[in-house]
């Protein structure tokens, strides 16, 4: 009888053990999270560190504008506790994907709290700045330019009313970092302090980089502040440093180029004697090469707008990307 009781006791102990042990190891396991594209993924990785198992849907060199979700992506989303997205209608495909994968975790919108640049507002800003900045002639030119093609171009996109490429400003990156840390801390309170420590270290690096880039951009001459890129992804960078970015493709890489857009850009490059045009890692660059050829401008280098480069590339992390872009711009425009 005693032996039976001891067996019963040990069985209970075993059962208790088997209930407690997995719970203990559960906490040690990294929480599954999903980030929509490489730049956001890099930030999440920085702040989450070893406590998260990150899946990035649109990897390095990938274009999130035209991403087609795969079943594997749907599985990652379904299994994730946290889903990090840029917001501002950058990931138009995400809502359908989250619904199809019956995602039931928390969504963190990284741009929450960012003051977004509206397309119209962006043009007004441009033109006001130029008014006080470069006198009357250029103001007129900009008026004319903003009047036709930019409005026409934007009408056709399925992006929202705001420019989604908010990470191109380092100030916004701090907001991204805050949102990411808050989201992680809420989902995993046990490691919250570590997330906030990582955030602080990341923000310190952002601030240090910002003072470098501020200096580089401040050194650019006043007549060399117009930049031509394939698609219009640098609105926030332009606003931060009083630059003007022009692009034949408009805001999204999805739109088709018309002869009118290319002609307007070539006319502008000639008129303002812009000396360098830039290519991007995610777009078809034959157009820019043709434009450079025709206007006598040089190709100033490759800018990274919507995706990081691969491991070995010059922009494998967010901070490297911002530094690379600023250095490329300042080398091509400053000389």
């Amino acid at each position: 009888m005693t032996s039976l009781r001891s067996v019963f006791a040990s069985a209970t102990a075993l059962a208790t053990l088997s209930f407690t042990i997995p719970t203990a190891s559960w906490a040690e396991q990294p929480i599954p999270v999903v980030a929509t594209f490489s730049i956001l993924g890099d930030m999440v990785e920085r702040i989450g560190g070893e406590h998260i198992a990150l899946t990035t849907l649109v990897g390095p060199e990938g274009d999130a504008h035209v991403y087609q979700p795969t079943p594997k992506a749907a599985r990652s989303v379904a299994e994730a506790d946290l889903l990090f997205m840029n917001g501002l209608e950058f990931e138009g495909w995400l809502e359908r994907l989250a619904e199809a994968a019956s995602f039931d975790g928390a969504m963190v919108v990284a741009t929450t709290g960012v003051s977004p640049i509206a397309f119209e507002e962006h043009e007004d800003d441009d033109h006001d700045e130029h008014d006080e900045h470069a006198g009357h002639d250029e103001h007129d030119e900009h008026d004319e330019h903003a009047g036709h093609d930019e409005h026409d171009e934007h009408a056709g996109h399925d992006h929202g009313t705001f420019d989604p490429h908010a990470w191109q400003s380092l100030d916004n990156a701090v907001i991204y970092a805050n949102n990411i840390a808050a989201g992680l801390a809420q989902a995993d309170p046990a490691n919250a302090s570590e997330y906030y420590t990582n955030r602080a270290a990341f923000v310190a690096e952002i601030v240090a980089l910002k003072s470098d880039i501020d200096a580089m951009m401040a050194a650019l001459p006043a007549d060399k502040r117009t930049v031509v890129t394939p698609h219009d992804a640098f609105g926030y960078f332009a606003e931060a440093y009083d630059l003007t970015f022009e692009a034949p493709q408009g805001m999204s890489t999805e739109s088709e180029v018309s002869a009118a857009d290319v002609a307007a850009l070539i006319t502008q490059i000639r008129r303002e004697s812009i000396s360098a045009v830039f290519i991007e890692s995610i777009t078809d660059n034959r157009m820019m090469e043709q434009i450079a050829n025709e206007t006598g401008a040089t190709i100033g280098g490759t800018l990274y707008s919507d995706a990081l480069s691969g491991e070995t590339g010059p922009a494998s992390t967010y901070l490297d990307m911002m530094r690379h872009n600023a250095t490329t711009l300042s080398e091509a425009l400053g000389s």
Partner: protein, 289 residues
């Protein structure tokens, strides 16, 4: 007025001149082939072949990026494989050529989509596959012009057997061993012109510039030489008007060109003197008076 509308865009902008030259090359090369496709009741073969070359070009793109050479070779190889395989199957089995062509191009298309999707790189392939007539560089232009010249030359050599094939394929088969050679060389021309056209207009639009002018010419001319001349003129005219519309009204160039050709087809359909809707249904007063 005319200067501003028609000539200034080409005088001021090199890319417009290049686009026009590229389109003229495609018009000269592709439309005669399109006319023969129509006469041989094979117009839809052009469409099938366009889908067949698309994966080859995509693979070329994945292997070595936006290299003109790799994409051209990839497209040519994929197109030739599909053409030869479907012709071969049609000759050794009881399956008809249209069915085997459909089967092979669908397989080729699915294979291409599979390779592109699993490669994991989302660089906008549609821009590559839709072509950019506004971004033709020197090598692309040389390629287009060489393809057009070669196409015209080969077509001149094949002219008699091809006309015979159109008129009476059984007869040619019975008097000459050249029937098979003619057929495959002709398919090779179709593939070559589509690959050339795809650099300028993209795979899907290249079929348009090949087929639409030929179909429109059908309503204006009766002789084969007349058909080819009218078709080439319609293609060049459509290219010019399409590019100008794209310039003045901010329209994407490729679709603008093909739509102008489509309007040309619609007008020919109604007003064409040879079997057009009006000519066909009008009381035949001419013959009474």
């Amino acid at each position: 007025m005319i200067w501003d509308l028609m000539l200034a865009p080409f005088a001021d902008f090199g890319f417009m001149r290049r686009a026009l030259l590229g389109c003229i090359a495609v018009s000269v090369g592709a439309t005669p082939v399109g006319v023969f496709l129509m006469l041989r009741h094979m117009s839809l073969t052009g469409d099938a072949m366009a889908h067949a070359i698309l994966p080859g070009a995509a693979i070329g793109y994945l292997v070595s990026g936006l290299s003109l050479g790799a994409m051209t070779i990839g497209g040519l190889v994929a197109g030739m494989i599909v053409a030869l395989a479907s012709g071969f199957v049609a000759r050794v089995t009881s399956l008809r050529e249209d069915a085997s062509l459909a089967a092979f191009y669908l397989i080729s298309l699915a294979l291409g989509v599979l390779i592109v999707s699993t490669h994991g790189n989302n660089v906008d392939l549609m821009h590559v596959l839709f072509g950019t007539v506004l971004a033709l560089d020197d090598t692309a232009l040389i390629l287009l012009c060489s393809f057009a010249s070669l196409s015209v030359l080969v077509l001149a050599l094949l002219f008699r057997p091809l006309v015979l094939e159109c008129a009476d394929p059984q007869f040619l088969r019975s008097v000459s061993k050249l029937s098979g050679v003619t057929h495959f060389t002709f398919l090779a021309l179709v593939v070559m012109n589509l690959v050339g056209g795809f650099h300028a207009l993209g795979t899907l639009m290249a079929v348009g510039i090949m087929i639409l002018p030929g179909a429109a010419a059908r309503f204006w001319a009766e002789s084969i030489a007349g058909l080819i001349a009218v078709a080439a003129l319609i293609a060049m005219f459509s290219s010019l008007i399409g590019l100008l519309l794209s310039f003045h009204y901010s329209l994407p160039s490729g679709p603008a060109i093909i739509l102008v050709a489509g309007v040309g087809y619609g007008l020919s359909l109604i007003f064409g003197p040879v079997g057009g809707a009006i000519a066909q249904n009008l009381p035949r007063r001419k013959f009474e008076t």
